[in-house]
C-alpha cells in the first residue's frame, strides 16, 4: 500500500470521526471527545496550559514528536480542516478549476506575523485570534454551523415522509446559529474554498498558526523530502501534484516548513528523483535564509503587536464587561474570565448540547471572545440532568464537573418582574415558571386561591427554564448572569415529607372506604 493511500484512508477515517463528533448523538460525541481533541494541536496546547490532563499532554508531545521526525504529516493525516481542503482541492481539479499546482514563493512575512500576533494575543489572554484561525476550531464551526443543520433538516424531512405510514421517529432539533456567527464561518469557508481552488494549501502555509508553528519544527525534522538533482529531468510532475506549492525545481529544493507531508510527490516521480530520507545538513542551510527573513519580520511584528496589545490590555476586559447584561456562561466555566480565556470557539458544546441552549455569539463577550458560546435562554434552557458540555469541552473552558456539582452550580440568577407578571397584574393562576423549575427555587404563595410566584434565590441555579416557559412578552422572569459562578443551596425535602414513606404504603392500602 502506498503512503498516499494510507494517508487518504487515515485522514478519511479521522474526518469521518470528526463529523460524528460534531453531528452525532450525545453518546457518540461524548465518546469521541475523549479520543479526537487530545490529538489536535490547539486543544491539546490550551488544555495543557489551562487544565493539564494526561491524555492532552501526551497528545501534544506526540504531535510535536511526529513533526520532529516526519515533518508536518499532522496537517495531512490528523487535521480535519486539512482533509476538508484536500477534498476541496480534489474537487476543484475534478471540475477543472485548476489542473496542476506550481511552485510559489512563501509569504513568510505575513505567515510569521500572524503566528506572532496570535501567540502574543494568547499570551495576554485574548483567545479570539487563535479561535478564529485554528484549523480544529474552524472545522468544528463548519460542522456545527453548516453540516449539522443540513443533516438535521434532511433527517426531519425523512421522518416526515414516514408519518403517513404510521411510522414515527423523534424529530431532531438543531442549534440556533445567529446570522453574524454564521456569516463569519461562511467567510472562512469561501476564503478557504477560493484558496484551495487557486493556490492549494495556501491557508495552511500562510494563515494557519498551527501550520506556521509546526513548520518551524519541520524545518529541522529528521525525515525530509529531497530532490536528487542528478536524477531529475525537470519534468515538473512532482511540482504539479504539490498542494503546498513548496517544490522549487530551479533550486531543486523542498521547503519543508510548508510541506504538509501528503507524499504525492514521492509517487509522482517516474525517475525516483524525489526521496523521503534523513535530513542532510547542508541542504537545510540553503533553504533556511528566506524563512529566516520572514521569521525575523514576524518576530518584530508580533513584538510590536504585543506592545500594542499591552497598551490596550486594560481596555479589553472593559469591552467584555461593558454591556449591561453579560452573557451567561455554561456550568463548569467557573467565571467569565476563565471561560473567555480558554475557549477557542470550536462550537463542540453547541453541537453536543441536547437542549440547544448554547448559541455561538459574535461580539457578546467583546472582541476578545469572538464566536464564543453563551447560554441563550430565549431559545432554550439548560437541562438539569445534563452535563454534556462540560464533558465534551476539549480546551477546559468548560471544566468537567460531576452532575451533582452541576446541579448546585449557580451560573445566573432568576429575577421576577412583578410589574409585568400576569399573576401579579391580572390575579390569574399561571405558574408556568414554577412548573419547570428543577430546583424548586420558585415557590407559590396562596392568597385567596391565587398562587403568586416568588423566587428563593439560594436554590436558583440560573438554568433558564423559567425564562423560556414565561408566557409574557417581554418575559416577566429573566436570568441574569453571574460573572463568577456560585454554589446554590441544596433543596431538601418538604417539611411535611419527613415521615418514612415505605411503611405508609401498607397503612393506606387497607382502608376500604371512599371519600364520596
Amino acid at each position: 500500500m502506498s503512503l498516499i493511500k494510507a494517508r487518504i484512508i487515515i485522514s478519511g477515517i479521522v474526518l469521518i470521526l470528526f463529523v460524528f463528533l460534531f453531528t452525532g448523538t450525545e453518546k457518540i460525541s461524548i465518546f469521541l471527545s475523549d479520543i479526537l481533541p487530545p490529538f489536535q494541536f490547539v486543544p491539546a496546547l490550551v488544555r495543557t496550559i489551562t487544565q493539564p490532563e494526561a491524555l492532552f499532554i501526551v497528545g501534544l508531545i506526540i504531535i510535536i514528536l511526529i513533526t520532529l521526525i516526519f515533518g508536518r504529516i499532522y496537517c495531512s493525516f490528523l487535521c480535519p480542516l486539512g482533509t476538508i481542503q484536500d477534498i476541496l482541492i480534489w474537487g476543484s481539479k475534478r471540475i477543472g478549476l485548476k489542473s496542476k499546482h506550481s511552485f510559489s514563493r512563501p509569504y513568510n512575512g505575513l505567515r510569521y506575523t500572524i503566528l506572532g500576533l496570535v501567540m502574543a494575543a494568547a499570551a495576554v489572554g485574548v483567545l479570539s485570534p487563535v479561535g478564529l484561525l485554528d484549523p480544529y476550531s474552524l472545522a468544528g464551526r463548519i460542522f456545527t454551523h453548516f453540516l449539522q443543520p443540513l443533516i438535521t433538516q434532511i433527517y426531519n424531512l425523512g421522518i416526515l415522509t414516514l408519518k403517513p405510514f404510521d411510522i414515527y421517529f423523534y424529530p431532531k432539533q438543531t442549534a440556533f446559529i445567529p446570522i453574524s456567527a454564521l456569516g463569519t464561518t461562511a467567510v472562512f469557508v469561501l476564503l478557504i474554498s477560493y484558496l484551495c481552488a487557486r493556490h492549494g494549501r495556501l491557508y495552511c502555509n500562510t494563515i494557519c498558526p498551527v501550520g506556521a508553528l509546526l513548520g518551524l519544527i519541520s524545518r529541522v525534522s529528521f525525515f525530509q523530502f529531497t530532490l536528487n538533482k542528478k536524477a531529475c529531468s525537470e519534468c515538473s510532475q512532482c511540482e504539479n501534484v504539490c498542494k503546498a506549492q513548496c517544490i522549487d525545481l530551479q533550486s531543486a529544493s523542498v521547503d519543508m516548513s510548508r510541506c504538509v507531508g501528503c507524499f504525492n510527490c514521492l509517487h509522482s516521480c517516474s525517475r525516483s528523483a524525489v526521496s523521503y530520507q534523513r535530513r542532510q545538513n547542508h541542504k537545510s542551510a540553503n533553504t533556511w535564509s528566506p524563512g529566516r527573513r520572514g521569521f525575523v519580520i514576524g518576530s518584530i511584528a508580533s513584538a510590536a503587536g504585543l506592545v500594542a496589545l499591552n497598551a490596550n490590555i486594560g481596555k479589553i476586559p472593559c469591552i467584555r464587561f461593558a454591556q449591561a447584561t453579560p452573557p451567561v456562561t455554561p456550568p463548569g466555566s467557573l467565571n467569565t474570565t476563565h471561560f473567555t480565556q480558554a475557549c477557542t470557539s470550536c462550537s463542540l458544546c453547541v453541537s453536543a448540547c441536547p437542549t440547544q441552549v448554547l448559541t455561538p455569539t459574535f461580539m457578546d463577550f467583546g472582541i476578545a471572545g469572538l464566536m464564543q458560546p453563551k447560554m441563550n435562554y430565549e431559545k432554550s434552557y439548560c437541562d438539569y440532568e445534563c452535563d454534556v458540555c462540560s464533558t465534551v469541552c476539549p480546551t477546559g473552558a468548560i471544566m468537567p464537573l460531576s452532575l451533582d456539582e452541576k446541579k448546585l452550580t449557580q451560573i445566573g440568577e432568576a429575577k421576577l418582574l412583578e410589574d409585568i407578571c400576569v399573576v401579579y397584574v391580572n390575579h390569574n393562576n399561571c405558574g408556568a415558571c414554577g412548573e419547570v423549575c428543577p430546583t424548586h427555587a420558585i415557590r407559590f404563595v396562596d392568597k385567596e386561591n391565587i398562587l403568586y410566584p416568588e423566587i428563593d434565590k439560594q436554590y436558583c441555579i440560573g438554568c433558564g427554564a423559567c425564562q423560556l416557559a414565561c408566557p409574557t412578552t417581554p418575559r416577566s422572569i429573566v436570568v441574569h448572569a453571574l460573572p463568577v459562578h456560585k454554589k446554590a443551596e441544596k433543596y431538601t425535602r418538604d417539611p411535611q415529607v419527613i415521615l418514612p414513606e415505605v411503611p405508609v404504603d401498607q397503612n393506606e392500602s387497607s382502608d376500604p372506604s371512599f371519600p364520596f
Partner: protein, 317 residues
C-alpha cells in the same frame, strides 16, 4: 371531525333548536350529565371507583363495572390513549401515568376490536432530547409498545387549529390531528399536586394536547382548562390515583427518594370529566370547591360536580 365546517342557515336553525331543546330539557331535569348519558344501558354507573389493587387489576374491575370496553371501543376503530408524560420522571415519582395501567388499557382496546391505538403526550419542555427522555423514563414508551400501541412523538406538523365553541378565554386551540381524526379518545391522567392549579387530574391533562397552551398561562389557567372541554370531552376518563404525588407537583423531584408520594391505590373511571375530577380531588384530600377549573366547568355544564346526583359504583379489593 370537521373543524372548519360551514353551516347553511337551515342547518344552523335546526341544530340551534335541537341543542336548545336538549339543553333546556337538561336544565329542567337538573342533570347536565344527561347530555352525555344518552344510550347508556340501565344499571351502568356514571362513575366507577376501585381501590386497593394493582393498576391493571383495578382497571379490569372498573371497566367490567362500567359495562366493558366494548361500550366505548367498537371493532375497527382507532383509539387515542392520552396519558400524562409531561415530565422526565420515573414512574415512582408519581408525575406520570402508571405504565402498567396504560398497557392494560391498550390491551383492552385491542381486545374490544380496535384497529389502532395511538399513545402520545406533548411534553412540557418540548425539546427533542427531553421528549425522548420523558417517553422513556416514564416507562410508558416501553409499556405501550409492548401492548402494540403506536407511540407518537409530537412535532410542529402534528397539529390542526380548531375553534372552541363558547370558549370564554380560549377561542382556538391547536390540537393533534390524531385526536381530531380518532374514533375514541381515552384520557388517562394521573392525580397529582400542581403548583399553579392545586391539582392536575383529567381536565388539566387535556392541556397536554393543546399546542398553544402558553395562552392558558397568559389568560388564566382555570378558565382555559374548563373552556377546552367545550370543544371535545374524552369518551372515557381513567384517573390513575395509584401513586399520588402530594407536593412539589407537577414535576416532582427527579429523585424518587425525595418524592412525597402516597399509595392511594385507587382508580376512577367516568365519562364525566368534571365528576371524575371532583372525586379525585376528594381522594387527594382537597375540597373540589377550591379548584377553579372544576367549578367553572360545572358552571359551563361540561359535567357535574355534585357527586350525590350521580350513580357511583365503588369497589374495594
Amino acid at each position: 371531525m370537521e373543524d372548519t365546517r360551514k353551516y347553511n342557515r337551515r342547518e344552523v336553525i335546526q341544530k340551534g333548536l335541537t341543542l336548545g331543546l336538549i339543553a333546556g330539557g337538561t336544565v329542567i331535569f337538573g342533570k347536565p350529565d344527561l347530555l352525555m348519558a344518552k344510550g347508556k344501558p340501565a344499571g351502568i354507573p356514571d362513575m366507577v371507583a376501585v381501590k386497593n389493587g394493582e393498576p391493571d387489576v383495578m382497571f379490569r374491575k372498573a371497566i367490567e363495572l362500567m359495562g366493558g370496553m366494548d361500550r366505548f371501543v367498537k371493532k375497527g376503530q382507532t383509539v387515542v390513549v392520552k396519558p400524562n408524560i409531561g415530565f422526565p420522571r420515573l414512574p415512582e415519582v408519581g408525575a406520570t401515568t402508571n405504565p402498567l395501567l396504560v398497557k392494560t388499557i391498550i390491551e383492552s382496546c385491542y381486545t374490544a376490536g380496535a384497529k389502532r391505538v395511538y399513545v402520545f403526550d406533548n411534553v412540557v419542555t418540548a425539546t427533542s432530547g427531553n421528549a425522548r427522555n420523558c417517553y422513556k423514563l416514564s416507562g410508558i414508551e416501553e409499556a405501550a409498545k409492548a401492548a402494540r400501541a403506536i407511540v407518537v412523538p409530537m412535532d410542529d406538523f402534528s397539529y390542526r387549529e380548531v375553534k372552541i365553541p363558547g370558549g370564554k378565554q380560549l377561542k382556538t386551540a391547536d390540537v393533534p390531528s390524531l385526536i381530531l381524526d380518532c374514533d375514541v379518545f381515552i384520557n388517562v391522567p394521573i392525580l397529582k399536586h400542581h403548583s399553579s392549579t392545586h391539582l392536575s387530574i383529567a381536565m388539566k391533562n387535556l392541556m397536554g394536547i393543546v399546542k398553544n397552551r402558553m395562552e392558558y398561562h397568559l389568560t388564566g389557567l382555570d378558565q382555559c382548562i374548563a373552556d377546552f372541554c367545550l370543544y371535545r370531552k374524552p369518551d372515557l376518563n381513567i384517573v390513575d390515583a395509584y401513586r399520588v404525588l402530594m407536593s412539589r407537583g407537577p414535576s416532582g423531584p427527579s429523585n424518587p427518594q425525595f418524592a412525597n408520594v402516597q399509595m392511594k391505590k385507587t382508580l376512577l373511571m367516568s365519562k364525566d370529566i368534571v365528576a371524575v375530577d371532583t372525586a379525585a380531588a376528594k381522594i387527594f384530600g382537597k375540597d373540589p370547591e377550591s379548584i377553579g377549573y372544576i367549578k367553572i366547568a360545572h358552571a359551563q355544564r361540561t359535567g357535574n360536580m355534585n357527586l350525590k346526583e350521580l350513580k357511583i359504583a365503588t369497589y374495594a379489593m
